[in-house]
């Protein structure tokens, strides 16, 4: 088993990357002294802007949520370092961009070469993801693949019976560091591009680890890297274009499994959980297009890909049993083929016709074998037990046909009609085939100069060929087991999984943009998607809708105001397990999810264009209400509603930029945010505590914050 502490390769990577980027630029851009091209001479030199400055963050409590993707935490100082610089010399150039150099989510990009001929490019991008900064674990060994309990810890049948004398604080955070290098070369109408990408992902994140009806959330060590290579050759004729691409992706996981001491008595003393195995992916892609005169174009694409994975199997459990493994690895291989063909034609200016066909297929070559497991690391199962399963090499094929036509019925008004057929064939699923037919209609009009309208409607019906839950059950179990147990768990014939369920879908949408006077604009848009699955076990009805109002007012070319409001709602109705002869499971669930998003802002250019000001306030609120009612057979006591899941965020932002001289400007940015979150699943439960009898939590529930961020920076303009 490979493992490391939190990977510091990325740190070394940063140090090496900056000089590498500069060297690359230096190599690519000089050597033009022989070039006598004078066309570009007047634009030679360095131009652009760079900004430097400082600031800080104030948070009222130790919440990770404000800096979720910026890495900013309570009391952090910030160095501002942004640049947008170009260097030109005749046809040669170098462009350099950098963003957030002083933050953990920095990025830099450099491109250099000869315009229209060749270029080198390189970039580096860092993305943190804070997950929690008030977590605690009972384990030792965070950052490794072996989590052990301290000697002071006493296991118990439930958390209430445990003695926890030691709790270790930790921050849950992951980070991606991505470096990209590439080269582009043009040969007249042909060009060639090669790109290499290297990505490191590391950190600690929470992971559920089961110990047979008990669970502990453990700090998972993340240490992965990805190497990808893409090579593209393209021919770009004016009438015919073709592109050929090879793509290779290699994924390497240095933490292939985690070994974890069991904190519960009566369960396995040590557990082993596997993580994503190393994998490889190759894809060949060919795409092209051909204009048949001005009115018709045909285009298409053909692709073949293969995903490969042959990591050695782990033993069934931390205790031996390797001899019972049917083979050493999954030797898994999924082939993908994709063919797309598109014809677009305008036989007369008023009429557009389009036909598109797509075929996508996965072929799963993995060998089907009966595997006799050791359940949750401590219970050896027999060949004919319910727990012995055949793996099922899932595969599917999709055939999709779209036919669309539009006709300009009168001035600036177009009527649209369309059809889409979507056929799926699946293996090892309860429904082998689903077919969805959708009919579409739309109207777009700019008839009035002060208003534009777009309306659309579609109706679709998806039908499955069968719903053979018993077949999926038979696919999984050994003949010996099936002879004694012809039916079992997950074989209820009334159960239809939502992704293959018969469905009627209605989409209605539209927007009206209105400009009654030259400096005022308003827009209204509305979208509704209604899915009706009919009566039966599981989801019966889903309704998604949103409506938005936008207004813009520009009283002068120096001042503008805007505002928007979006109402979003999702409603779902689901029948519980009503057909099971257990009254306590006969219920209905209704879910109502309502979101409000509101924003206003203003931009101004004042003091003879010396002062730029912008300000914005946004408010987001989401509330999810889940209620239950009993079904035909009364439950043992009426179900009780859940507390609302709710969150809201206020954000105010102000930015000012004053041009002190034509070359130098002084900037100020201020952000205030207030965030509140209510989540019954985590609120009030402490990490590494006995709050929940069968579950040891890891991350704390604290997300709420009130934050202030202020930055002051100088921007220097280079060149004219």
């Amino acid at each position: 088993m490979k493992h490391t502490q939190k990977n510091h390769l990325s740190g070394r990577f940063h140090f090496a990357l900056v000089p590498a980027l500069l060297l690359l630029g230096a190599l690519a851009s000089p050597a033009y002294s022989e070039d006598k091209d004078k066309r570009m001479a007047e634009e030679d030199g360095v131009s652009g802007t760079f900004s430097i400055g400082a600031g800080g963050v104030g948070l009222d409590r130790d919440s990770f949520k404000f800096g979720e993707y910026s890495g900013l935490e309570k009391g952090d100082g910030i160095f501002v370092g942004d640049a947008d610089i170009a260097y030109n010399r005749k046809s040669y150039y170098m462009n350099f961009f950098s963003t957030n150099l002083g933050l953990e989510n920095r990025s830099i990009y450099l491109e250099s070469g000869k315009r229209g001929d060749y270029n080198f490019f390189a970039g580096f991008d860092q993305t943190p993801h804070l997950l929690s900064n008030n977590s605690q674990t009972v384990y030792h060994g965070t950052g490794t693949s072996n989590l052990t309990l301290p000697s002071s810890f006493t296991a118990g049948g439930q958390t209430t019976n445990m003695t926890i004398l030691e709790r270790n604080s930790l921050e849950l955070q992951t980070e991606r560091d991505t470096a990209t290098f590439g080269f582009f070369k043009s040969f007249g109408e042909n060009d060639f591009t090669v790109t290499y990408k290297r990505e490191d992902k590391d950190g600690i994140r929470p992971l559920g680890m089961s110990f047979n009806q008990r669970s502990v959330i453990i700090p998972e060590t993340l240490d992965q890297d990805v190497n990808e290579l893409s090579m593209t050759f393209a021919h770009n004729g004016e009438d015919r274009q073709i592109k050929f691409q090879y793509f290779l992706s290699l994924f390497d996981n240095r933490v292939e499994a985690l070994k974890v001491d069991g904190p519960f008595t009566g369960q396995a003393s040590v557990g082993l959980i596997s993580r994503a195995p190393d994998n490889r992916y190759h894809r060949l892609s060919l795409s092209g297009g051909w204009n048949l005169g001005e009115t018709t174009r045909i285009s298409g694409m053909a692709e073949y890909g293969v995903m490969l994975q042959d990591d050695n199997f782990f033993p069934y459990a931390t205790i031996a049993h390797t001899a019972r493994l049917p083979r050493n690895s999954a030797d898994a291989r999924i082939h993908t083929t994709h063919v797309m063909f598109n014809v677009d034609s305008r036989p007369i200016p008023e009429l557009s016709l389009n036909a598109k066909y797509k075929h996508y297929q996965t072929i799963n070559d993995i060998q089907r074998t009966l595997l006799i497991p050791v359940s949750v690391d401590n219970t050896l199962r027999a060949d004919d037990s319910a727990q012995a399963h055949y793996n099922t090499p899932l595969a599917y094929a999709q055939d999709n046909l779209q036919l669309d036509t539009s006709y300009r019925v009168f001035k600036a008004t177009t009527l649209k009609l369309g059809y889409e057929g979507d056929l799926w064939n699946r293996s090892f699923r309860e429904a082998e085939t689903t077919m969805e037919n959708t009919f579409k209609a739309g109207l777009r009009s700019n008839y009035f100069s002060f208003a534009s309208t777009n309306l659309k409607f579609s109706y679709g019906r998806k039908i499955q060929d069968k719903n053979d839950m018993a077949q999926t059950f038979r696919n999984l179990h050994s003949p010996n087991y099936l002879s004694a147990n012809p039916e079992g768990s997950d074989s209820n014939p009334n159960l239809v999984r939502v992704d293959v369920k018969n469905r009627e879908r209605i989409n209605v949408g539209g927007n009206i943009n209105f400009t009654p006077i030259g400096n005022f604009a308003a827009g209204v848009s509305y979208n509704l998607r209604e899915d009706d699955y009919g009566h039966g076990l599981g989801v019966e009805y889903v309704n998604n809708q949103n409506a938005t109002l936008d207004v813009n007012y520009t009283p002068s070319d120096r001042v503008s105001y805007y505002g928007f409001y979006t109402y979003g709602r999702q409603r779902l109705e689901q029948a519980g397990a009503e057909s099971v002869t257990d009254a306590t499971r006969d219920y209905w669930r209704d879910e109502n999810d309502v979101s409000h998003t509101f924003g206003v802002g203003a931009n101004g250019r004042l003091l003879k264009n010396k002062l730029d000001l912008s300000t914005e306030y946004t408010y987001t609120q989401s509330v999810t209400d889940i209620t239950f009612t009993h079904g035909g057979a009364a439950v043992a006591g009426d179900p009780t509603a859940l507390p609302d899941l709710a969150n809201q965020r206020h954000r105010f932002e102000f930015k000012g930029d004053y041009k002190y001289t034509p070359k130098i400007s002084v900037g100020l940015k201020y952000i205030a945010e207030v965030y509140r979150d209510d989540n019954f699943a985590t609120d009030g439960f402490d990490p590494a505590s006995n709050n929940i009898a069968d579950l040891l939590l890891l991350d704390g529930s604290e997300q709420d914050y009130t934050a202030h961020l202020a930055l002051v920076f100088l921007t220097y303009k280079i060149g004219n």
């Binding site: 570009m40 634009e43 170009a86 961009f97 989510n105 990025s107 315009r115 229209g116 001929d117 993801h129 559920g208 089961s210 008990r214 959330i217 004729g237 004016e238 009438d239 073709i242 050929f244 994924f251 994503a276 992916y281 060919l286 174009r297 692709e303 995903m307 199997f313 898994a332 291989r333 083929t337 994709h338 598109n342 677009d344 996965t362 072929i363 497991p373 949750v376 690391d377 793996n391 899932l394 177009t414 649209k416 209820n492 939502v498 992704d499 927007n511 979208n527 949103n546 938005t548 779902l572 099971v580 499971r585 979101s595 946004t618 987001t620 009780t640 965020r649 699943a681 439960f685 709050n691």
Partner: protein
């Protein structure tokens, strides 16, 4: 590899080796279909007269990297540079002031498809290869709805707004609201943009995804989910958006509904799976509702390669 697949791959490799040998004939825009007054109009050549009236426009255009690349690649100067997008200017230069607007192609009075056609003279290739017939093209969107070439308004790609997301939100207003939800990808922090997943010029996937399927697009960043593995979870293998809403959600990590209710949309039979998890489950500190709910135990929800991983526990 099966013989059928070998055949398919061989064809894929062979075709591009043959095609570069083909010489393609050029075909430019017929400007008289854009403006009948341009029929027979002559080029103004390298004349600098355009600057007499449009100096500010031309100066800001020449400062763009687009203009510099164009100039370096094709070497056109003066009016012949303007003519690539506005048609031959011979008549325009000769016309009296009142007649001038009718003697050139202006983007203010041509159709949406004609605007795109002008750009496609050079850009019908690469990511724009499948523009014609794409959902945006069919919705009468054109290049100028998102891009502006006459001055630099964004750092890259010549967008009409500095922030590329705001370009998309001109129409996709519901997505502007969704990225503000609590569980979101780092779009509002500037680490991703809509084009990280979508090709607005006509990607091969659903909703103009960059790759053929939702999953192949997700695997661009989530390679660890690609597998394949011994124990697959069917809806995961078919479509990540069966469970996730990548534009933003109220349920971390961008789930369309909260577990265990999300899981119960498919799993309503056997053992503890179909149980009612209501308000009393909170009072009872039920681990199947609290914390990560089903994922407290079934954490290998995307598939497991462990030989004991059938239940996605290992």
């Amino acid at each position: 590899m099966s013989p059928k697949l070998k055949y398919f791959v061989s064809i894929l490799i062979a075709i591009p080796l043959l095609l570069p040998l083909t010489a393609f004939a050029g075909k430019r825009v017929d400007w008289s279909t854009f403006n009948p007054n341009l029929k027979g109009a002559a080029s103004a050549g390298k004349s600098t007269e355009c600057k007499d009236c449009h100096d500010d426009y031309i100066k800001s255009f020449e400062d763009t990297r687009h203009a510099k690349t164009y100039k370096a690649k094709f070497g056109r100067e003066g009016a012949e540079s303007c003519e690539v997008c506005h048609g031959p200017a011979g008549n325009h230069l000769k016309a009296k002031d009142k007649e001038k607007p009718d003697t050139i192609v202006s983007f203010k009075n041509i159709s949406s498809k004609q605007k795109s056609r002008i750009c496609l003279q050079c850009h019908e290739k690469g990511e724009q290869m499948h523009w014609r017939g794409s959902p945006h093209e069919k919705a009468d969107i054109n290049c100028t709805n998102c891009h502006y070439v006459m001055s630099r308004k964004s750092k890259r790609k010549m967008f009409v707004k500095a922030d590329s997301k705001m370009v998309c939100f001109q129409c996709h207003r519901d997505k502007r609201a969704k990225i503000l939800r609590t569980s979101h990808m780092p779009l509002r922090e500037g680490k991703m943009d809509c084009a990280s997943c979508h090709n607005p010029h006509g990607g091969p996937g659903p909703s103009m995804m960059k790759l053929a399927t939702v999953n192949e697009t997700c695997y661009m960043c989530h390679q660890e989910k690609r597998g394949p593995v011994l124990w697959e979870h069917a809806p995961v293998r078919e479509n990540c958006s069966n469970c996730h809403d990548p534009h933003g959600s109220n349920f971390s990590p961008m789930l369309i509904r909260k577990p265990p209710y999300l899981c119960q949309e498919c799993h309503l039979d056997g053992g503890h799976v179909p149980s009612l998890y209501d308000g009393s489950s909170i009072a009872g500190n039920d681990e199947k509702l609290l914390g990560k709910a089903c994922l407290n135990c079934h954490s290998a929800i995307h598939g497991s390669n462990h030989p004991s991983g059938f239940r996605l526990l290992r």
